[in-house]
């Protein structure tokens, strides 16, 4: 087993273990840190499958953005009451049935997925190709995504503001 294969299986195992740890963790903050670990190992898997741009985006946006937002949310919804961060579980049986059922179905049919055309993976110039692809063929979705981000920004600011409605 060479080094990339070992790293691939290591990060696969790390992502799976930290995802399970989120389920069993009672503490919201610890769950957020487990999710951070899981997201970083997924970014490592992106690097190992020649998706460097996506890996950098994953680290910047998920580890730098979403996790910070989530930790702010945890602080804002627990500091007021002063209660500890313990989370109870509910609907355990139905949750396990739904998750295990979907997992069984997916694992049952995944071996029948076959590669259509097994091309060699791209070389280091894939970032340039991604730039060309996004700004030529996908320029309209890119603009719409920017508009969506603006709307989400304004919406989040309005929802959390203290302004009373006029009506």
């Amino acid at each position: 087993m060479n080094v990339p294969e070992f790293l691939f299986f290591f990060f696969t195992l790390l992502a799976a273990v930290t995802a399970v740890a989120i389920v069993f963790s009672k503490n919201v903050f610890k769950s957020a840190l487990f999710l951070l670990c899981c997201l970083l190992s997924i970014a490592a898997l992106y690097v190992l499958s020649f998706a460097e741009f996506l890996a950098v985006t994953q680290i910047l946006i998920y580890a730098g953005g979403i996790l910070v937002i989530i930790i702010f949310g945890i602080m804002l919804t627990t500091r007021i009451s002063g209660k500890p961060l313990v989370v109870q579980n509910t609907n355990i049986v139905s949750g396990i049935i739904a998750g295990a059922g979907l997992l069984i179905v997916l694992v049952r049919y995944l071996p029948s997925v076959k590669p259509v055309s097994n091309n060699p993976a791209l070389s280091a110039e894939s970032i340039g190709v991604i730039g060309l692809t996004v700004f030529t063929g996908y320029s309209l979705p890119f603009e719409i995504a920017g508009l969506l981000l603006l709307i989400a920004l304004v919406g989040a600011a309005v929802i959390t503001s203290h302004l009373k409605s006029k009506a």
Binding site: C38, Y46, F72, T77, A98, S126, G155, T160
Partner: protein, 101 residues
């Protein structure tokens, strides 16, 4: 089996774990964590399938848009959670049943 197949299995496992988190946990922030995990599983699928058609890179671009939508969802979702917490003094999704018939 090649590595992209293992990525598909990992994505299936992560998606099911996220589903269990969404159903089981009694905290709205934990539910958001589960949704993020499910979106990441779908991104992992997109990257794994893109390895089989690596000339096009459409999978990477689509995963990029999925990340953008996930950011919007997290921002608006956490804003709603904070607002609901201020109003009901609770962040458990089960306890907020104002619209229940």
């Amino acid at each position: 089996m090649e590595p992209s197949h293992y990525m598909l299995y990992l994505a299936a496992f992560l998606f099911c774990t996220g589903l269990v988190i969404v159903i089981v946990k009694r905290n709205a922030i934990m539910v958001l964590l589960g949704i993020e995990l499910m979106l990441n599983a779908s991104n992992l699928n997109l990257v794994a399938f893109n390895q089989w058609h690596s000339q096009a890179l459409a999978g990477h671009v689509f995963a990029l848009f999925v990340i953008i939508v996930a950011v919007c969802e997290a921002a608006v979702g956490l804003a709603i959670v904070v607002r609901v917490y201020r109003y009901f003094h609770s962040s458990a999704p089960d306890e907020i049943a104002e619209l229940k018939g």
